[in-house]
């Protein structure tokens, strides 16, 4: 008796939580399909589903080139964060000297430093190097600030791989570096997935670096293009909603397909800390 009643309470609570958390997405969805002369409440579904907002947002906000910028910056950053992170994690996990302990702590403590705190000197540095509005500068910054987490995760993971594996291969005469690429690297797949997901979301969604270092219209990423668009057309809610939905779609779709990896990766990465 009691059991089934509490079951209903749970179901009801879950329904409420689900409805509450889907609400902003629902409102975004209805708004993005309404033409500008449709003044009905955002709660109401549009009378006619009008895809023009998406076309207009895409053209007016220059989203085509912003999409390409996002893709290039995210993809190259990912490659470097994974390779440099895995390489750094190997000696930090295997060569346990006082120096390496210190280096490891240095990297890990860098996770706490928000790039914004050193914005002024960073801006000057990038300007002096001629990196304003370039891919390479913003990629280097992304890689630098994503690396600490990547190194932290890779080091932790490599420590769980039994050393016997390498010792056996070493007796067979494999070099230490070859060992890393042939034996360790293939074992890193699960943690590499985690690093790619965390880094990918961080870089794709970035606003803080992009807004400072990618200001020209050709180099803008999605968030910057969207913020410019937003301040220009704030009264034209349908366009802005459509633009927001378009930029958020790729990570959302990826998440819905790879959900298991997203959640598992995040939980394992965080709890180990």
């Amino acid at each position: 008796m009691m059991k089934s009643r509490s079951r209903w309470v749970y179901m009801l609570l879950m329904l409420l939580i689900g409805a509450f958390h889907i609400l902003p997405f629902y409102l975004l969805f209805t708004t993005s399909f309404k033409p500008i002369d449709d003044l009905s409440s955002k709660w109401v579904l549009p009378e006619t589903w009008n895809p023009d907002n998406f076309k207009n947002a895409w053209e007016q906000a220059n989203m085509g080139s912003a999409f390409i910028n996002n893709l290039v910056i995210t993809a190259i950053s990912l490659v470097f964060v994974v390779i440099l992170g895995a390489l750094a994690g190997y000696p930090l996990a295997r060569v346990q000297t006082r120096l390496n302990k210190w280096v490891y702590n240095l990297f890990v403590s860098a996770m706490v430093v928000p790039p914004l705190t050193i914005l002024v000197p960073l801006y000057k540095l990038v300007a002096d190097l001629g990196g304003m509005n370039t891919y390479w500068a913003v990629i280097l910054l992304h890689v630098t600030f994503q690396l600490p987490l990547s190194i932290f995760l890779f080091t932790g993971f490599i420590q769980t791989i039994p050393r016997e594996l390498e010792e056996a291969a070493m007796v067979d005469g494999a070099s230490r570096l070859g060992l890393f690429f042939r034996i360790i690297f293939p074992l890193l797949k699960p943690i590499t997935a985690t690093v790619m997901i965390l880094t990918g979301i961080g870089v794709w969604n970035d606003y803080q670096f992009s807004v400072f270092f990618l200001q020209s219209s050709e180099s803008q990423t999605l968030t910057v293009a969207l913020s410019t668009f937003f301040s220009q057309y704030v009264s034209n809610v349908g366009w802005v909603a459509a633009g927001s939905l378009l930029s958020a779609l790729p990570p959302i779709v990826l998440f819905l397909f790879l959900q298991k990896y997203f959640i598992r990766g995040l939980a394992s990465g965080a709890v180990k800390g």
Partner: protein, 312 residues
Amino acid sequence: MEVGGVLNREKQTERLAGMVGRNKRLHPSAWLNLLYVPALVLFAVFILYPFFKGIQVSFTNWDGYSQTFSWIGLDNYRRMINDPNIGTVIENTLIYGVCSTVFQNIIGLAYALLLNQSVKGRGIVRTIVYLPVIVSPLIMGYIWYFFFQLQGGALNDVVQLFGNQPVNFLDDPKWNVWIITFVNTYQYVGIAMVIYMAGLQSISKEYYEAAELDGASGRQRFWHITLPLLMPAITVNIVLNLIGGLKLFDVIMALTKGGPGYASQSISTMMFKVYFASQDAGYAAALGNLMFVLISVFSLVALTYLRRREVA
């Protein structure tokens, strides 16, 4: 060939040393340390160097683009103390940091406990709660802007439905700081929930069975088993959320740009304003350093305090 020979000798020494971790002489595998040099170089160039440069700039009146500047000692910090807005700004930053953390952890734990029950549909609810984590905080801000805005805002439609005048939530200092805290909480409560769910699943069922045999009530079980054994997850969540809230930037820019005036400004958005709108790089650098100290102190204190309470 040469290199191969060196490597072979390396391996022999290593085998002789019996793979001992700590060695008085150079570690036999010390050359492997070369593998972290690229990461270290990036770290030095883009974090360490700017960090010290930032301390230096904060002692100048540099405007952010001129070739010249003069040293003005601690003037920027004196200005900070006397700034009539600094009180509001620090208070806001602490609200964003501390209150978001409190909300995210209480709600995240509640969600985790609820969704840990085997009820149909919990997977979908978990997905929905987690979804905002994937979305850019800037876009999240815009989405909620449509909810809270004055003209045609979804919330104001409800307000008017009950015959009241629409409220300018985002321009009202009574509301907007809390709206920003709410949006930040809403967006990242999913992370807290997932970490707590993992924590809950790692607690062995035997503890609960033993407690039940001893006649412990549900509340007792929560306070004496669940909570103490969740301490590692609590530590991670609190530290993560503190850092995230204290450095909050995108959501504020999307919802209010820190306005009206300084009403919802945090240190991060104030720094942005001082640097780009007022060309006051020296002062902006000083604000950056204040933010760094604030975040380091808060996360270190929280970490040491909470770590001590974890069950070994």
